[in-house]
Amino acid sequence: MNESREDKAAAARARMAELAEKFIDRTRGELATMREHLAKLAAGDASMLGEIHQLAHRMAGTGATLGLVPLSECAAQIEYLAEIPAPGAVPNAAALAQLSDALDALEKQLRSAAL
């Protein structure tokens, strides 16, 4: 039997709700990874900024497409802060503190998304 567009749309919405739950779980793990990257960045490993940027970029895009707008906005702020100022440059203390605050905001948002 052929599915109607309405049936397919309903199935797609249900699948997106599942993907959103999985996305929230995965984002928890990626937040921990970003915190590790930030610690290495603070210790002088400039390459970690690009890693944080890449994770945040994907998180922002996927979150928004899945309708998790506040979470996506937190990720977009991290992505913005992790824009590479110059090749090999390590952000100064104030910029590192801003990134840390942005990760805290993401964690807060993840907690409320899980409620």
Partner: protein
């Protein structure tokens, strides 16, 4: 010029969730074959093997990004004529102009509305053939 039917499309994105959502969205109307790939080299192979009518590329991907894949396509006689659409979170006028200069037929902004993606793709496809 009449738009020929859009029967097959290859979507390239490193994010598996987005690939799945795009496939669900573009098959809601049941008319299109949607091929998927998560990285550039595999995408180029799939284009040669499957000859999709249209390629939709995410812009920012690790390794070969969307513009780099397009450059490889345009330098390859087998793939040079396949139309390309970019999908990007940075769809401001300047970026859209830059992508069009690279020969993209259009740009779709991310995040997209999954229920409206087919009509966005079809509008760009039709305007390309006008």
């Amino acid at each position: 010029m009449n738009a020929r039917a859009l029967k097959s499309l290859l979507y390239v994105d490193d994010d598996a969730d987005i690939r799945e959502i795009v496939q669900m969205s573009l098959t809601l109307d049941g008319e299109m074959t949607v091929l998927l790939c998560g990285e550039g080299e595999g995408a180029l192979r799939k284009m040669r093997d499957e000859r999709p009518d249209l390629v939709v590329l995410d812009v920012m991907m690790p390794g070969m990004d969307g513009p780099a894949i397009l450059a490889r396509m345009r330098a390859d006689a087998e793939l040079a004529d396949i139309p390309v659409i970019f999908m990007t979170a940075k769809a401001d006028a300047q970026e859209v102009a830059r992508f069009r200069q690279l020969s993209a037929i259009g740009v779709i902004a991310k995040p997209f509305d999954p229920m409206a993606l087919t009509s966005q793709v079809m509008a760009l496809w039709k305007s390309h053939h006008e």
